[in-house]
Amino acid sequence: MKKIILFLTAIGCILFFSCASRSALRKEKLADSTRKNEFLPAVDFIKKNPKLYGRNNELLYNLDIGILYHYEGMHDSSNSYLLNAINVYHDLFARSVTNEVASMLVNDNVRPYRSRPYELTFLHQVVAFNFLAFDKVHEALVETRRMQLLFDEWERKNRTDEKYTSDGMFHFLSSIVYDAAGESDNAMISLFKSVKAYKNGPVKLPSYIQNYAYNMFKLNDRESDNELLKLEPPKVQVPGVDNNISEIVFIGYSGKGPSIEEAVWSGTYVKDGLLVVHHKRPDGKRETMSLPAPPIPESELKKAEKGKKTKSGTTFHIKFALPVLKTHSSKTKAFKVHCDGYSEPFTTTVINDFDLQVAKNLEDTKAATLARTVARVVIRTITTQQTKGQLTTNNPLANILINVGTDVLADQLEKADTRSCFLLPKTVQIARIPVKPGVYTIDVAAMGGAGEVLRTKKFSNIKVGTNQKKFVFYSSFE
């Protein structure tokens, strides 16, 4: 009886912990709304179904709602959720021992979601955007300083330029905001950091920023920065090269951003020896990994020293799951912005690409994720074998069922941590339109790859004051 209760409890625990499919359900429900730019129904859905996030995903819950409100243009509501998300991030600084132990036994989904670094940067960026929508330049700069503290901390931890510790887009936009506040020196420092971050990061330095930076450094007697960053003189003329000019800054969110899926690896674990696992890629090719298994346990070592038979060399079937990038094809490639007083439209420049950022993040975290996963799977495999031994009965049929059931349920426990904010755009794009103080109307068109117009929007009554920068946001997730 006790064994049956133990077995049923195990099933209960496994079913409880294998609820990682909530992430998949969220994606399924929200993807369609966002593609159609229907952000408020998506917010409504999230608010009505908080259980799809759960207590461990409080940060993600706030981030998703905040981002959707931002796309909708409800900047106050957006900031209320995004600032909540930032508070949750800081509250999660202390790691719970219970959660960490549970994650070693179950999977990483039992830990609270702490966000991925590029998400956190974008989160601060959107908070700044929301303040800029209300012309609160100094509040937007608070976000720059807060993010800089995080960049400094990431840099201190990594000590190399290989991992994501800075963000070209964030520094570039900060440079524009510093310029709007009349702080030219800080604007140049941010511009310098931006070029440096682009050169070290996954997103290629856009030629527009390269040319703009070269001219701005020259204008502000910082030609040594051009030498340090090895910037070449531009071949094309860049509009708006001056300090503190009045301009309309158009920010476009284009295409559906990437998500993180699960790749299942399976193979054999030779106890105290090797893990050999295989995985079939989406293109049909087979990948194989050979990893050293954790060392022989002390009890087994003592047996070996006494010349007794050990369990080493026993082979077990294992399965584990690792997170992988999933990109989505999108029609929107760029935006054309037509402004009063200009005969030709401005075409946007890509300043961030989240397909590349997610790929970089998975690469940065691969070693740590793999080490945790291998340790977890090995612990679980040993535990499963011991459980099978303890549950053995005199009934052969029951023994078969217990053995098969234990293996199947242990496999079910293994889930990759695929949590991420999949509501991010594929790319963030910018067009800067220098204007004289006045009232303007701009027409924005989201363009497809063949130059076709996918959707349009008119923004009227944009009042630009002296030395003021007006930010306009538009998204096309098609």
Partner: protein, 198 residues
């Protein structure tokens, strides 16, 4: 068995219920309570107290007192150059109240408040009786403007951080651009966050 299962449940149940309830208690508004290490009401109160004492004791007021006049002050921008979203209005309002209650200074409405008042006067011109409607162009011009900044310097490593806040407020004569008073309050905090919890 010394403790039966039922007894254990009877002991644990109230504990669980108590653990799940929200506990609220009233505390003195001037008590010092730090939860996160961020700017809080205590910092705001310390800045207000320092600024009020300093502002009322400095000699800039003598000039007006000698002439038996009260200067009129307008609150300008207090720019937040820190790394936190700080509500400057809390200590600026404290200061405004203390100066006004001292009877030595008058305040006029801020830019946004004035716009609201002008809208109201425009509305009165159309809708209120001629005896009660307030006229335009009768506003009191300010003599001085209160402006300021909040700056922070943060030095952090891992779970430890030293945060230095410097708040500066200045009174500037609008006519001559002369600064007549500069107040300063520095606050330094050492914040250590727990790395782990149960």
């Amino acid at each position: 068995m010394f403790l039966s299962k039922k007894r254990i449940i009877c002991w644990l149940l109230p504990l669980l219920v108590v653990g799940c309830t929200t506990k609220v208690s009233r505390v003195q508004s001037d008590s010092t309570m730090d939860l996160t290490g961020r700017w809080n009401d205590t910092d705001s109160r310390l800045v207000a107290e320092e600024m009020i004492n300093d502002c009322l004791s400095q000699r800039w007021l003598y000039k007006w007192e000698e002439e038996n006049k009260r200067p009129t002050v307008i609150v300008g921008n207090v720019v937040n150059k820190s790394h936190e979203h700080i509500s400057v209005e809390t200590f600026v309002k404290n200061m405004e109240r203390a100066l006004l209650n001292s009877g030595k200074v008058d305040f006029v409405a801020t830019k946004s408040e004035r716009e609201q008042l002008r809208d109201e006067k425009a509305d009165m011109a159309e809708n209120a009786s001629v005896y009660t409607a307030k006229s335009m162009g009768e506003e009191t011009g300010a003599d001085l403007m209160l402006i300021g900044t909040i700056n922070t310097i943060v030095d952090q490593e891992g779970n430890k951080a030293v945060v230095f806040y410097q708040t500066n407020l200045e009174l500037v004569e609008i006519e001559s651009n002369r600064k007549v008073w500069i107040g300063e309050k520095k606050i330094k905090k050492y914040v250590e966050r727990a790395k782990t919890k149960f």
